[in-house]
Amino acid sequence: MIVTLLTDNLRAKLSFLNHAVSPNSQLEILSNFFLKASKGKLTVSATDLEIGLSSSVPANVEEEGETTVPAKTFFDLINNITEEKITLKTKGTNLELTGKKIKMLFQTMPPEEFPKLYEEKGEEAAVLKKELLLKDFNKVVFSASADSSRPALSGVLVRKEKEGFLIVATDGYRLSLKKNVAFETKKETGIESLLLPARVIRELLSIKQDEDIRLNVSEKSNQAVFTQGETVLVGRLIEAEYPNYEKIIPTGFDTKTGFDREEMHKAVKICSVFARETANIVKLSLKKDKIVVSANTPSVGEDTVEVEAKTTGEENEIAFNGKYLLDFLSNTEEEEVVFEMSGPLNAGVFKLSGDDSFLHLIMPIRVQG
C-alpha cells in the first residue's frame, strides 16, 4: 500500500474515529486502526466490538492495500506533526510514514485479524438532519443509563407516532421524552420502533460533519448503520423490552411554577456544593413568587438560594438528586422552564415553556422533616 494525503484531512477524522478504539482491550488488534487504500481514498476504521466507526479521506493511491497501525501512537503523532502532506507505505510488517522532514516506522498487525464492521448495511430506514439531531437528541440522550447490565435502559427508544417520531430515554430515576421529531422515512421500509444504544447516539453527535445522516437497519444482523458523507457508524440494536413509560407520565398536578433556566442552573450548582456528601440531595421549596433551592450537610453547613418564579396552586416542597437537575438544566437551551408536581413523593415534571413536545421526569428523593 502506498498513499499520499493531506494531514489536516486525516487529523479531522481521527479525532472522532478515536472514540471507537478500545485502548486497553485485552485483544490487541482492537487498539489498532485498520487502514485501507483503494480508489483514490484512504479508509480508516476502528471498533471496540460494541460500536464500529469508519471514515475516509481523499488520497493519491499509488498502490492499493490494507494494514493496521497502533491507534494511540498514530493518533498522537498525526496530531503533532506540522507536515502538510504525508505518505504512508507498507514495508513488510511495518508501515512507514514519511513527510518532507520526518520519517516514522510503525509496527503493524495482520489486517485479516481486524473484524469486519458490518456484513450488509440493510434497508434504508430514515434520513436525519444534523441540526435536528443535535437539538432534539441532546435533550434526551443524557437520561439513558450508563449501566449496560440493564440493556433496555441503556438505549434510546425511537418510535413512530401519528405525527413524526417520538424519542425516549430513561435510567429508571429520570426520563426524557421528545415528540414530533421529524425524520424522513421511506414508506415501504419505514421504521416502527427501534431501541438504539445511547452510546451510539452520543458518538453520532460527536461526528463533526454537517451532511444529512442516513440510517440503515438490518434486522438480520440486528444492526443499525448510520452514514454521514463518507463516515459510517455501526451499532447493534438492543433487543430488550422497553419499560412502559406512558403509564408513569403524570396526568395532573397540584403545583405549577415557571422559572428562568439559567438562574435555576446557577442556584442548583451552588447548592450542589453543600449537597456533595448527602447523596446530592437538593431541596426545592415552591413559594408564591419564588423557589427556594437549598442543601445541607450536617457536618459542613447549608445554603439556600432564591430563584424568581411564578407559582400557581398550593405551595410545595420536593427534593431531587442535584446531579439530575444539573443534567437536565445543562442539556436544554430554552430560556424558560415550567415545573409541575403533585406531592413530594411523585415524579416531578419539567417542561419547556411554550413547547408541548418535550418533557423530563425526575424521581424525587424522600427526605424527612
Partner: protein, 447 residues
C-alpha cells in the same frame, strides 16, 4: 434451556484451554447456545464484529469442540443477539412507585405515609410489640388502652406508632387521629395558657379517636402539662378512644411524674422492643433498599448488617453504598459494601501482598514479574492497577507502594494511580477492578 447452557459451558471450557485468555474473555465469554436441533447449533454473540472474528479466526477450534460434544458434522450458525442472561432487570424506582403512590390517598399530618405495618420488619425482638400494635390498630380503644411501648432509640417505636395511625386512617379517613411528640404537646399547652385559649386546646385533644404521644418521658417535671394530660387521659378512656404512648424506659422508671398519671400509663398493656438482632437488621436493610428502588442482594444485606449494629445507622450505610455505586457506575455487591463501610472504620484488613497476588492471579502473571523492571504493556497495566488498589483500599503512601512493587519512584506510582482513575472514568475499568478484588487467589497455586 438449562441443557443448552450445560452443553455450551462444556464446549467453552474446552475452548478456554485452546485460545488466549484475552480472546476468550472478549469474544467467547458473552456467547450463548440458543438452540441445538436437527444437527444445527445456533449460537448467540452480542455483535456482528464478534461474530466475524469467531467465524474467521476461531471456527476450527469451535468446530472441533462442537463435533466432540454434540456430534460430527454439526452445522454451526451464529446470530447477533444478546445472551438471554443479560436481559431482564428491574427498571428502577420511576417505574415502580406509580402504582404504590396511587394507593395512598392523602396522609396524616406529622405521620410518614411509608411507615406502615407492611414495611416493618418483624423478628423475635419486636414480635410482641408488633402483635399488640396490630391488635390496637384493628380495634382501637377496645383491647389494650393505653398501649405503652418502650425501648432504646432506633428500634422502631415511632415506625410502629405511625403504622397504627396509618392503618386506622386507611380504614376510615373520618377518624380523628392526633400524632404528637410530648414536646409538641407541652408547647401546645404552654401556648394555650399564654394566648388564653385553653378551652380550644382541650376540645382538640379530648375529641379524638386516637391519640398517639411519642417520647412521653419528656413530660417529667412539667406539672401543668401532666395535669392537662391526666384529664385528657381520663376523658379519652371514658369515651373509648385509643391512646398509644412511647418512651425510652418503662413507666415505673420515668421520674418526676405524678403517681396518679403513672398508674394511668401502666393501666393498659406495656410492651418493650429490644435492639434488633442480626436477622432483623438484614430484613430492615432489604426493606429500606426496596423503598429506594434498589434490588439489594441477601449477601450484601448481610455484609452491612454485620458491620452496623445500630438500626438507625443502617439506612445511612445503605445510602452511602448506593451513592458510591452510582458515582462509580458499578453494581452493588458485597465487596463494594465492604469497601465503603470500611472506608468509615478501619481500612487495613487485607495484607498488601494479598492484593498484589490477586492482581497477578487475575492477569496470569507472576508476582516476581510485577515487581521486576520489565515494562511490557501487559505488565505495566497490571502494575498500575495494583498501585491503584493498594492506594485506594489500604491508603498506603506512594513511597510504600513504590517499594513494594520493586523499588519504584513515588512519582511513577502517582502517575499509575491517576492513569487507572482516568481509565475507570472512561472505560468502565471499575468492573474489572471489582473482579480482581473478588478473584480467588487460590488459583495462584497453578503457577
Amino acid at each position: 434451556m438449562d441443557k443448552n447452557k450445560e452443553v455450551w459451558d462444556e464446549i467453552l471450557g474446552e475452548i478456554e484451554l485452546e485460545v488466549s485468555r484475552a480472546n476468550f474473555l472478549t469474544l467467547f465469554k458473552r456467547t450463548a447456545l440458543l438452540s441445538s436441533q436437527d444437527g444445527v447449533l445456533t449460537i448467540a454473540a452480542p455483535s456482528i464484529m464478534i461474530i466475524d472474528l469467531l467465524q474467521r479466526r476461531f471456527f476450527d477450534i469451535i468446530k472441533k469442540s462442537v463435533d466432540k460434544h454434540v456430534g460430527e458434522g454439526t452445522e454451526i450458525i451464529f446470530v447477533p443477539k444478546t445472551s438471554p442472561a443479560e436481559e431482564l432487570r428491574a427498571s428502577g424506582p420511576l417505574f415502580e412507585t406509580s402504582e404504590k403512590t396511587e394507593a395512598i390517598v392523602g396522609h396524616l399530618p406529622r405521620v410518614r405515609p411509608d411507615f406502615t405495618f407492611a414495611n416493618l420488619a418483624v423478628s423475635s425482638t419486636n414480635q410482641l410489640a408488633y402483635v399488640s400494635a396490630t391488635t390496637v390498630a384493628k380495634k382501637p380503644g377496645v383491647t389494650y388502652n393505653p398501649l405503652f411501648i418502650y425501648g432504646p432509640t432506633g428500634v422502631g417505636k415511632t415506625h410502629l406508632m405511625q403504622a397504627i395511625a396509618n392503618e386506622v386512617y386507611q380504614k376510615n379517613a373520618d377518624r380523628k387521629i392526633i400524632y404528637i411528640t410530648s414536646e409538641e404537646f407541652t408547647n401546645e399547652v404552654v401556648d394555650a395558657i399564654r394566648t388564653n385559649s385553653t378551652a380550644q386546646m382541650k376540645r382538640r385533644f379530648r375529641n379524638t379517636d386516637l391519640l398517639i404521644i411519642d417520647d412521653i418521658q419528656f413530660v417529667a417535671g412539667k406539672e401543668k402539662v401532666q395535669e392537662e394530660l391526666f384529664h385528657t387521659f381520663n376523658i379519652l378512656v371514658d369515651n373509648g378512644s385509643q391512646i398509644v404512648l412511647s418512651s425510652d424506659r418503662p413507666p415505673a422508671e420515668i421520674k418526676k411524674v405524678e403517681k396518679r398519671l403513672m398508674s394511668r400509663f401502666s393501666g393498659g398493656l406495656t410492651v418493650d422492643i429490644e435492639a434488633p438482632d442480626f436477622e432483623l437488621r438484614t430484613a430492615i436493610l432489604l426493606i429500606k433498599a426496596k423503598k429506594y428502588g434498589f434490588n439489594l442482594s441477601m449477601e450484601v444485606a448481610k455484609t452491612i448488617a454485620e458491620k452496623e449494629q445500630d438500626a438507625r445507622s443502617l439506612e445511612g450505610a445503605l445510602l452511602r453504598i448506593m451513592t458510591e455505586a452510582e458515582a462509580k457506575g458499578v453494581l452493588i455487591d458485597s465487596s463494594l459494601a465492604q469497601t465503603v463501610l470500611e472506608g468509615k472504620s478501619a481500612k487495613k484488613t487485607y495484607h498488601p501482598d494479598d492484593i498484589i497476588n490477586n492482581v497477578c492471579a487475575y492477569y496470569k502473571i507472576k508476582p516476581t514479574q510485577i515487581k521486576s523492571q520489565k515494562r511490557d504493556a501487559s505488565l505495566v497495566r497490571a502494575r498500575q492497577i495494583a498501585m491503584y488498589v493498594l492506594k485506594k483500599d489500604l491508603d498506603l503512601t506512594y513511597v510504600e507502594i513504590g517499594n513494594m512493587l520493586g523499588g519504584r519512584d513515588h512519582t511513577t506510582v502517582m502517575h499509575g494511580v491517576e492513569k487507572v482513575e482516568k481509565m475507570i472514568e472512561t472505560n468502565g475499568l471499575g468492573q474489572e477492578i471489582l473482579g480482581i478484588k473478588n478473584y480467588d487467589s487460590g488459583k495462584l497455586a497453578d503457577y
